[in-house]
Amino acid sequence: MAWRNIWRNPRRSVLTMSAVAFATLLLVFMLSWQFGSYATMINASVKIHTGHLQVQAKGYQEDRDIRKVVPDPEAVGKILSRTETVASYTFRAEAFSLVSSKDRTYGVLVTGIDPEKEAAVSTLKDMIRKGRYLADDDANQALVGILLAENLKVSPGDELVVLGQGRDGSIAATVLTVKGIFSSGQDEFDRSVVHIPLHDFQEIFAMRGAVHAAVVICTDLETISQAKKEVSEALGNLEKGRSLAVLGWKELVPGLLQAIKMDLIVGFIFYLILIVVVAFSILNTFLMAIFERKREFGVMMAVGTTPGRLTRVLIYESAAMTLLGSAVGILVGSLLTAYFQVHGIMIPGTEEIAREFGLPERIYPQLSLLSVSVGAGVVLLITLITAAYPALKVRRLKPLEALTAV
């Protein structure tokens, strides 16, 4: 009965369903878009440098003090290899130093890396644009960020002089040869970092075998928190392990997480307002569907239909409409998203922003169960609540009055 009722006035029903479908479509697409760009942002920042987890000395994250070290990297390495959720890890050490070429001097972050392990953790190896990546037995060779190389006016083969301060406060100085030039797409990183082999670093900066961080990539985004817990527990049993901290990407790049949260909240405010507008838009249809049929309901009640049954019919009617609208919205929204998921979306005029965050030019929306269900769910919920209001009103109808109503 409810189903037939819907099609008694096809135009009105189609308009109502379109409104629901439009809202659903918009939400499915926008949420997929948002989630897709977050995944891109997280991956970009994690893969360029940060990793999913880092083991550092407590306090190193805040003040980057060269003396706050992980003193025994081997013991930490053993723990990490034992942990199943850890896919790969590497050690790094870093120190702020003056780097001079023949005619330029810049302050940069000199980072010691283990070339082989680093390649399994970050995309550094794939970022090389000129020259070659470091080999394990390289000595006094360096990889320079592309913007820094421009500023220093160096290319592979040129020499750099490094002047800094060692772990013990002594002067650290050496001469390096540029072996390769990398480009991450993230300007800040390309402008301020030089990579050298870790064993060189430890010698130059008097690290006595220590490092500043163990950088960890987990098997996937979902296993990060478990890996974090396991590694922290294992570290607790280590001698001096209490001075170490395990930090997740959320702590390593706190701005990213907050930017995402803010974007989500702002998004939800917009969506909510939009849905409320849609709800009021379609409330009239539901109301009218009932009031123009007062007589009809009067007849039904007079022949013995209980008010409860009547309400049920009406709720089925509205529910069928909203469900159908949502289904169409989900379908079209998913198709639209799927199309862009393959082809990507490029917003013209956003190149600089993308470079600031190291993002690719195209953003790929990510269709997921979450992005589809949240948007559609909220629309469905609110429209159903809207639809229930007139359906409940019908209970108060008196058969006699209704029958005489025009």
């Binding site: 009105r12 109502t16 379109s18 439009f22 907050q258 838009s281 409330l283 917003i347 600089e352 922003i353």
Partner: protein, 406 residues
């Protein structure tokens, strides 16, 4: 008379009118209010950008921007300062020395931007004049004083009165170093600003770098940002292009420019989405109003009312709905913007995320006449446009058939 009929007709079914009015009001309110918030966001971002040493426009020696070293300084500042006389009245300008340097004390070292300023002129152009929270601002004669940011002081574990050694490349390509004393600590909207800049007297920086009376840049602040393009153009004509570059804040802050452009587009898309959401309701409501009065329209037609006038009558109903909704929506929108403009919205909870996006912590909504106009024009014109559909339907009613209906 047609208008009067329209006006009376919408009040024949008060509930229906109230519901659709609510939809229009919420829609218009959300356009005005959220539009103002987004403008507030982007305005603050622009103001921050301009106040953080950018100004409305800057003059550099050609090549300085790509390679900001002391070699690329302006070696005949008098010529540039002469040219500045053609700036519109009320324009303020300040000369600067600006180089990358390494700041160090016994415990830490890091790269900063060393800015040599004329304390009097600088205060009229950028934020630093009234940003000093501890100690004092630079004085007219201040050979040893340096003003640094609060976050920098924390990172360096130092305090007012302590020494700070700055190193940078001088005019001859040698490393120049000079000790300064922290005389003031400034606060900025963004922590990155507090970490990045160290301000000294321009004379002190000139002496340190051995550059005589030369300067690196001139920053100009105009009375209104509408004069920027014209002022830049007239300066470009006075200054030879191969020696000097004149750039506006749009060139200097490409990320801010892109964000502003995205906001422009986004605000319009938002207007459109809200409109579509309420458009469905509007059409449906008018359509229902038409169809339940088929007999009536039939009667009017048989009494000799022209189809054209029927269209006008239906449009008049839609017109009154829109105007009422818009009036109330605008009023509530303006009131809510006004209520928020006293204290602003405090987004400190997301400060790191805001920092990440280069925005400030407190957002004040900003009303832009153009947005209000666009919002109302969108609703009004498109509202009437979609109402044409039911209106034409009403005009096509065949009087004989309509009258024969029950």
């Amino acid at each position: 008379m047609i208008l009067q009929m329209g006006w009376r007709n919408i009040w024949r079914n008060k509930r229906r009118t109230a519901v659709i009015l609510t939809a229009v009001i919420i829609g218009v309110w959300s356009m005005i209010f959220l539009g103002a918030l987004m403008r507030g966001f982007s305005d603050r971002m622009r103001q921050n950008g301009i106040a953080t040493l950018t100004g409305h426009l800057q003059v550099h020696r050609a090549g300085f921007r790509n390679d900001p070293v002391i070699e690329n300084r302006i070696t005949s500042p008098a010529a540039v300062l002469d040219a500045l006389e053609i700036l519109p009245e009320g324009a303020r300008w300040t000369p600067r020395i600006r180089v990358n340097a390494v700041a160090g004390n016994a415990r830490h070292s890091a790269g900063i931007t060393l800015v040599g300023i004329d304390p009097g002129r600088e205060a009229a152009v950028s934020f630093i004049g009234d940003a000093v929270r501890q100690g004092r601002y630079l004085q007219q004669e201040d050979p040893l004083g340096i003003v640094v940011g609060e976050a920098f002081v924390r990172k360096f574990e130092t305090r007012l009165g302590n020494k700070l050694v700055l190193m940078s490349q001088d005019a001859n390509g040698e490393i120049a170093s000079r000790a300064f004393r922290i005389v003031g600590i400034f606060d900025a909207e963004l922590e990155s600003t507090e970490k990045q800049f160290g301000f000294v007297h321009i004379a002190a920086s000139r002496k340190m770098l051995g550059v005589g009376d030369d300067i690196c840049e001139v920053a100009v602040l105009l009375p209104s940002h509408r004069q920027v393009e014209a002022a830049a153009e007239s300066l470009r004509q006075r200054l030879p292009e191969d020696t000097y570059t004149v750039e506006t804040w749009k060139d200097l802050l490409p990320i801010v420019r892109e964000t502003l452009e995205i906001y422009d587009v986004f605000i319009f898309i938002w207007f459109l989405a809200v409109f579509i959401a309420m458009g469905f309701g509007l059409v449906n409501t008018i359509l229902m109003a038409v169809f339940e009065r088929i007999r009536e329209f039939g009667l009017m037609r048989s009494l000799g009312m022209l189809p054209r006038l029927v269209v006008v009558e239906v449009l008049a109903e839609s017109f009154f709905l829109l105007v009422l909704g818009m009036a109330a929506g605008n009023l509530i929108g303006l009131l809510s913007v006004w209520a928020l403009s006293v204290n602003g919205i405090d987004l400190s909870a997301f400060s790191a995320g805001m920092e990440f996006a280069g925005m400030s912590r407190i957002i004040f909504p900003v009303l832009v006449a153009r947005d209000i106009f666009t919002a109302n024009a969108t609703v009004f014109l498109m509202g009437l446009a979609v109402s044409l559909y039911p209106a034409v339907k009403a005009a096509r009613i065949n009087p004989v058939e309509a009258m024969a209906r029950p």
